[in-house]
């Protein structure tokens, strides 16, 4: 009898095997491509060259140094941006007149946040760490303040009246209505703002940086070290998937989904 019960383990193995087909095909194509079409070797180095470069970069610590530099900047920018934006956003949105005054301005500033600030950041902070952190914090700040204002405003008026007619004032309105009401929007906004922040990080490092993954890949263009570029791309993709899965999806599950505000 037990043979008829579909085992979840077997389904997972099946999924895993299926998911492996496409990467395998890509690698196979990469392997046979030089035998089919002719191109200069530097344009697409072999899998072995890229793997060798990766082993080398892992062994001498340069890859971890680049990852560490990038992630550290991202963490600082994300924290600073949110720490300024969320309290400010709540304070602004709690007054309807102030919110009306600022909404178009914020919408506008949000649409230019990030990469476009790179040249100004270089003028203000010079090439290097501070400029890149500024760009990330700037991206996160405008996205977060917008999300916070929208979050506070999405709280239905009936709830405001209900809370007030029950005698809540000042701090109680804030702690029991505004904060929980806006929180789900703020948390859901983390992932979007981080997607823009991550791009701003890589772009910022390419133009204004002196270390990190973006700097590593753009620097390799000068020397035609395509294997370093491909390694960088692979690491950039992998890091984003890991962050998305283990930080943002996990956070959403533990909060918004658990509170029943969003189904997955």
């Amino acid at each position: 009898m037990s043979a008829h019960v579909p085992s979840p383990g077997r389904a997972a193995v099946g999924n895993f095997l299926l998911a492996g087909i496409a990467p395998f095909l890509l690698l196979a194509l990469w392997f046979v491509l030089p035998h089919i079409v002719s191109y200069q070797a530097y344009k697409l180095p072999s899998i072995a060259t890229v793997a060798g470069r990766m082993v080398e970069a892992l062994a001498d610590g340069t890859l971890f140094a680049a990852i560490g530099a990038s992630l550290q900047r991202l963490a600082i920018g994300f924290t600073v941006g949110n720490l300024i934006a969320i309290p400010l956003g709540i304070a602004l949105a709690m007054n309807r007149h102030v919110a009306d005054l600022l909404r178009p301005l914020l919408t506008f500033l949000q649409s230019i946040a990030g990469i476009a600030w790179v040249p100004l950041a270089i003028i203000w902070f010079g090439l290097g760490d501070a400029a890149v952190v500024f760009i990330i914090a700037n991206t996160i700040f405008f996205a977060a303040i917008y999300n916070t204002v929208v979050g506070v405003e999405s709280i239905p008026n009936t709830l405001h009246r209900a809370v007030r007619s029950h005698g809540a004032r000042g701090w109680q309105v804030f702690a029991d209505l505004i904060l929980p009401g806006a929180l789900s929007q703020i948390i859901l906004g983390f992932r979007t703002s981080m997607a823009y922040g991550w791009r701003a990080l890589v772009a910022g490092e390419m133009i204004a940086g002196s270390s990190g993954l973006g700097y590593m890949t753009i620097e390799a263009v000068q020397w035609y070290q395509t294997e370093t570029i491909i390694m960088g791309m692979f690491v950039i993709g992998l890091l984003w998937l890991l962050m998305d899965r283990f930080i943002f999806t996990a956070l959403e599950r533990a909060t918004v989904v658990r509170w029943g505000l969003m189904q997955r």
Binding site: I21, K43, S111, V118, P119, V221
Partner: protein, 266 residues
């Protein structure tokens, strides 16, 4: 009495405009207070002068046209290929399970990270920008369409089949309408990333365009030009979003009652 004629919506517009005016005034007032000169901290007056200059020399219209052309071409190519690929893959459950993880990995390698290798492959210029933009639209459209196709309730498919729907009818009457909201969401996400991607790609790989203007202004110590570029960029995005993207969403998704917007709820 005249106050009563002003609706809440109009009052919002008036207040919003006032907010922008106040911001510009505060910026102008802060210029002598900061006192670092137009290279570090140009004021609105400097920016206006730079704008007139760029307009008079015909630089701005040319750059704007180049950027718009690149953006439109990249987004259209990416979206078309994305939908075609999604229909080829998404209608088959096994194919969808095979490709979905790889697709999400490819999308995780952000378009910005592809620019260096595109430069190696295609050099600095139009091809690199076009491919990078197509790339960043292609994957969200493809991925979200796959999700949309997978979320079609089997009951609907079975019901349509039981009523004798052909394969084509099943596709056009059940699967596509169900997958459309997800597809449109993917398109909007991609269009948003593509816009920032365009500005970055023009900074690195172009000699014209709004992104180049932003970059070149700072490099030539004409910071006011950089700010003109940033303002044009912001206005261009608001234009694209309000004139093209939101109406598409409204005309398809909302009309079919598939998404309840904040506006409709009020």
């Amino acid at each position: 009495m005249s106050m009563a004629i002003i609706t809440r919506g109009q009052a919002r517009v008036v207040k919003g405009t006032l907010g922008i005016v106040l911001f510009i005034v505060a910026w102008q007032v802060s210029v002598p207070l900061v006192g670092l000169g137009p290279y570090f901290y140009p004021g609105p007056a400097d920016v206006l002068r730079a704008f007139e200059d760029l307009l008079a020399k015909g630089i701005l219209p040319t750059y704007l046209r180049d950027s718009a052309g690149r953006y439109a071409a990249g987004v259209l190519i990416g979206a078309t290929l994305g939908v075609v690929a999604a229909l080829l893959i998404g209608l088959n459950h096994t194919a969808s399970r095979i490709f979905a993880p790889t697709i999400s990995f490819m999308f995780a390698i952000v378009e910005v990270a592809w620019i260096p290798i595109f430069v190696i492959w295609f050099g600095y210029g139009y091809t690199t920008i076009l491919i990078a933009l197509s790339y960043v639209v292609f994957f969200p459209v493809l991925y979200n369409t796959l999700l949309g196709v997978r979320s079609v309730p089997p009951v609907y498919v079975n019901a349509a089949r039981a009523l004798g729907a052909s394969r084509w009818q099943l596709l056009s009457n059940v699967i596509l309408p169900c997958a459309l909201p997800s597809m449109i969401t993917g398109f909007r996400v991609g269009a948003g990333f593509a816009f920032r991607g365009l500005v970055f790609a023009e900074m690195v790989a172009a000699k014209t365009g709004i992104g180049f203007l932003i970059f070149e202004g700072a490099a030539n110590q004409e910071t006011a030009r950089t700010i003109v570029g940033m303002i044009i960029m912001g206005l261009a995005w608001l234009f694209i979003d309000n004139v093209y993207l939101k109406p598409v969403e409204r005309a398809t998704v909302e009309r079919w009652g598939l998404v309840i917007t904040a506006q409709a709820r009020e």
